[in-house]
Symmetry: C2
Subunit: 455 residues, 2 copies
């Protein structure tokens, strides 16, 4: 997708920059106050650290300051809060729902975040400590405490007046019904509540067949459930079925977008969090990318040994050496294509590991067809250019065809095997395919050459 | 992510298969009726065509049948409806919101879908024809007509009773306020309506600052707005600001997931719709992948010409040929990493094209660091193994380092340039990097060799 940045936002960005340059603090403060927090965060992304810190200090409204932080990437949050004393961070944290508070505290250095938690009031400290106890990327870590739960014996009339009072809850679309132990019993949409007979109790009108998730559930699993079943919010319960939070669809949106990016980056063996590109040093980034490249290096070394075994033959027919890159290059690319299709298919659930035979045979067929096509092309070209070496065109053409077939086979089998052994195919497929294809490709090539060129 | 299929769903799948095998039609019909439509669609994915058709024919409830279709991939919809006569498809279409109806009709062959539209009643035909007129992947194509819009002069009390009557609308969270021309004036959440003074008019209490999108807006743009600003539903207006539909967050979820998959597949130069892997023939799939591989082939051919220029030198020092694969392999992989980071960064908006210098210099620094590291490793190995050829280790080590640096440069500059000229970097970067790196890598390698080995 060609992502054109929103032209309106670009104009706003220029305006903010201009006001900053002219030190028009009062105007800038007003302008920032009127913008959506997500927009401010967007604009801050393209500012220099000093610029952002200065602009942020001009945002007066506490709620707006807090919202800007929750919309910003973690390294920017850390930076924006650096000059802010702990006593001023505390009221910001208090403004936020528990999931957002957790996010902010996690971006800060451990020591500082503990100091801030210590400054909170007892119930808040407890709520946040509960929240921080959940493992990252679980339902517990992304849920919010901003929901309405009412006892089952309440009447519809009483429930409506309770909903009216719950002013601090952001969105109310569902009312959750709990028993005296806090266990989740049912759910009612706000609209059903509105339609119901005012004298009935909640237990009479609620839907009892509620989909809930455990606090320990993986966030990706929750994202899949929410998107598969078109749910707007899913209640989260602890081990005793006590309702402890809800996950709303907008939190799930972030999870889906992040996981997709992670998957793309993982397949290329780079750092998997987009954030890190801007926040980490080049040395650290190189270090993260080192291991993946090692397999490619290893493949190259093995290939070098193999080639050296054929020194005599190669020095006799140098044309053979000339076609090595195209053969392993084509094999590598057709392999990457097959691997990408299978890895992504497994991740999205479109490919069923049980129908592995169908998946592999399709990839191999495609690889072979492509091999025949490029084999013919390359064969003709080699025959024309090296007419002096009999059979060379045939050898090169046949080799590329066979190599592409085997490469498709290897690249489609590998992710399925890795998946079977619960190794993440997105991480491991690339390196193995890279190494395997180089060595396999040359082995096949040289053996075909030996057979037909009698060397 | 290791995507473990839901064990509960696997058990349900086995159960359905067993009932099918035993022709236990009544039981199967009951079981399918009780399942969520999305679950049925999930299970159908792993069935053979005959199995799905048979199971689908046992679903009696019309609404459930319609929902199962909307949850299924397009090629499965086409297949499931094949044996169903047009007269029986019509009531299914009538069950659906306009966006879902559009989806089903689009999966069918043109002629058949026109026959079905002709069988609908006049107002429905019109609504669907309006819908079909919007270009694919625009807001108009994914919006739904399932919302509540009320005139601004209504009182809160009247509005509440209108909401109670709108029973066919799936989710009501917001009430949209329109003027006598149907133009969007404001919005009120259901909860605000509940809290408001019953005698006030809607125009007095509505929020007038409503975010709306044009019917012509790109679906990805809408998805970004919804996810950036955490909106649950966004109203869609035509060129005269008349409210014509809404897009809900769950439709956006599908867009985000699909676009991510498309991007991943596009980068590998394969068919970009996951659907197609299962629905298209191997020949068609090979055809789609052919052009991307052509660039790789071209790069290989150019490399072959280049190598042949150095025939004499290579036949003298065969060890030089041995290290060609590792040098272009490492260059290709480091290039792929850089390209992936930049392409994905541009797509998600994390990389700002305006800060191109910072992006490129970071990638080049990382590439150089990795180059130094692997250059040393390879240099030492080559020196040890080919002690007879003086300078060989040095040449090979230096070459890999320089080549990796240039590869990172090329792979980070290219997507930025493509983006500047509005060519989708996800599609075009791969082929150019592949071709460029092979040729560039060998050129650098041979020239360094010439310089130090005096050949």
């Amino acid at each position: 997708m060609v992502n054109e940045r929103d032209p309106r936002l670009l104009r706003v960005e220029d305006m903010v920059r201009r006001l900053l340059r002219h030190k028009a603090d009062a105007n800038l403060s007003n302008a920032l106050e009127k913008m959506h927090a997500a927009e401010v965060a967007q604009i801050f992304q393209h500012f220099l650290p000093e610029e952002r810190q200065e602009a942020f200090s001009l945002v007066r409204n506490r709620e707006h300051r807090a919202s800007i932080l929750t919309e910003s990437d973690s390294h920017i949050v850390r930076e924006l809060l650096e000059p802010v004393p702990n006593e001023d961070v505390v009221p910001l944290i208090k403004e936020l729902d528990s999931d957002d508070a957790r996010y902010i505290l996690e971006t800060l250095p451990d020591e500082r975040s503990q100091e801030i938690v210590a400054l909170l009031d007892a119930p808040e400290t407890e709520a946040i400590q509960d929240m921080m106890a959940y493992l990252p990327e679980t339902a517990g870590a992304i849920m919010t405490d901003s929901y309405v739960a009412l006892p089952e014996e309440l009447t519809v009339n009483e429930a409506i007046s309770q909903v009216r009072k719950a002013s601090e809850v952001d969105y109310i679309f569902y009312v959750y019904v709990i028993d005296s132990n806090g266990c989740l019993r049912g759910v009612i949409s706000l609209r059903q509540l509105l339609l119901a007979d005012p004298s009935k109790t909640l237990s009479e009108i609620m839907i009892t067949n509620v989909w809930s998730e455990s606090v320990h559930a993986d966030q990706e699993h929750v994202a899949r459930v929410v998107s598969r079943y078109n749910i707007l919010a899913i209640p989260v319960v602890d081990d005793d079925n006590v309702l402890v939070g809800i996950i709303t669809v907008d939190d799930v949106l972030d999870v889906i977008r992040e996981e997709a990016t992670e998957d793309i980056l993982k397949m290329a063996g780079t750092h998997s969090y987009q954030d890190e590109v801007t926040s980490l040093s080049a040395r650290r980034l190189a270090w993260i990318r080192l291991p993946w490249l090692f397999f490619s290096w290893l493949g190259g070394i093995l290939a070098a040994q193999l080639i050296y075994q054929y020194s005599d033959q190669l020095s006799k027919i140098v044309a053979l050496a000339a076609f090595m890159p195209v053969i392993i290059g084509m094999a590598g690319n057709v392999g990457t294509q097959s691997a990408t299709i299978v890895v992504r298919g497994l991740a999205t659930g479109r490919i069923d590991p049980k129908s592995w035979l169908r998946v592999i045979s399709k990839e191999v067929t495609v690889g072979t067809l492509l091999g025949i096509c490029y084999g013919l092309l390359l064969g003709l070209l080699a025959t024309y250019q090296f007419a002096s070496v009999a059979w060379l065109g045939f050898v090169v053409g046949l080799a590329i065809c066979v190599v592409m077939m085997f490469s498709a086979l290897l690249a489609s089998v590998l992710p399925l095997v890795l998946h079977r052994f619960r190794v993440d195919p997105a991480v491991a497929t690339g390196p193995f395919v890279t190494t395997g294809v180089d060595v396999l490709g040359l082995l096949i090539y040289f053996n075909i050459a030996r057979l037909f060129l009698f060397i």
